[in-house]
């Protein structure tokens, strides 16, 4: 049994500035699925990750004292997040991170959590280059694997 079969969530954290546009809003009001990492809330450490753009708005309005990381959601509650996977495969393609061997995996419609992790590791590996935008650098800074333990989401050590 794969070590990834029991994962609750798989997230990809872009580096500062998100130069590869992992979390950039698209045309016509589209938004990628997003999660926010552990942060301070009213003085108490909040270990859960929160999902959705409303969380970001709350952060920007100062509802929560200290913002955490933003991440693209690939897998949540034991299920694929299709829009997250679609965004990642496009960014990986745009940044020339997929090679010919990857193409089969790239076109998967419903990858498993393990396949997502393998693909995400490509983003955190070597630098990417987008010839259209001029971006050259790291596409993702890290992958977050989440397990549910006692009704809390805890990050799995990698």
């Amino acid at each position: 049994m794969s070590a990834y079969n029991t994962l609750f969530g798989v997230l990809v954290v872009p580096p500062e500035g998100d130069g590869s546009l992992l979390l950039t809003p698209g045309a016509g009001g589209s938004l990628p699925p997003v999660a926010f990492g552990p942060f301070q809330r009213e003085g108490a450490f909040r270990s859960q990750w929160s999902i959705g753009w409303d969380t970001q708005m709350a952060c920007e309005k100062g509802v929560w004292a200290e913002g955490g990381e933003r991440a693209l959601l690939l897998w949540w509650d034991g299920k694929l997040v299709p829009e997250g996977w679609d965004r990642m495969r496009r960014v990986g393609w745009d940044c020339l991170l997929w090679d010919y061997i990857d193409r089969w995996e790239l076109n998967l419609h419903t990858p498993s959590a393990g396949e997502l992790v393998v693909a995400a590791k490509r983003l955190t590996g070597g630098p990417g280059r987008n010839l259209l935008t001029g971006f050259h650098g790291k596409v993702a800074s890290r992958i977050v694997l989440l397990d549910r333990v006692d009704d809390r989401l805890v990050e799995r050590a990698q």
Binding site: G26, A27, G28, G29, S30, L31, P32, P33, V34, A35, I51, G52, W53, D54, T55, L73, W76, K79, V81, P82, E83, G84, D86, R87, R89, R90, W93, D94, R103, L106, N107, H109
Partner: protein
Amino acid sequence: MIPPVAVLVVPAAGDRGGLLTPGPCGAMLPWAQQVRVSGPSYTGLVWAAGSRWPPEDPRHVGVLPLWWDDALVPEGWDRARRVLANRMRSFLPSDWSGGAGALLDASPGTESILDTALMGRLLFELGLASGVVLLDRVDGRLVERVP
């Protein structure tokens, strides 16, 4: 023939294919709608890109843009591709017709405006869309192309 500047897919009644169903975890789809404008040079309906789904005015019927302003709308294309893939699951690959297989296997960044028009046509033929709207730019406005 001059290619259109936008290709829009109108979901079928009830949107049973889920073309415009919001995604999980805060994912929002692109959409477009017709809005009424009135001005010194023109009064009537024009097409405009959406902001945040759903439309504030429920009378506005949303459509899914696959191509907009002479460029692919990746999130619209990817949703249409998923809806088509779900529908094609009940078919054997040998039954795929009209280039469905090629559309489903297209690599990101390689989709053309012809692909988007074909995608719209396929969704229409499968009963997942009630129509495909092609837009031209006329005097700075996006207007529907009359067949």
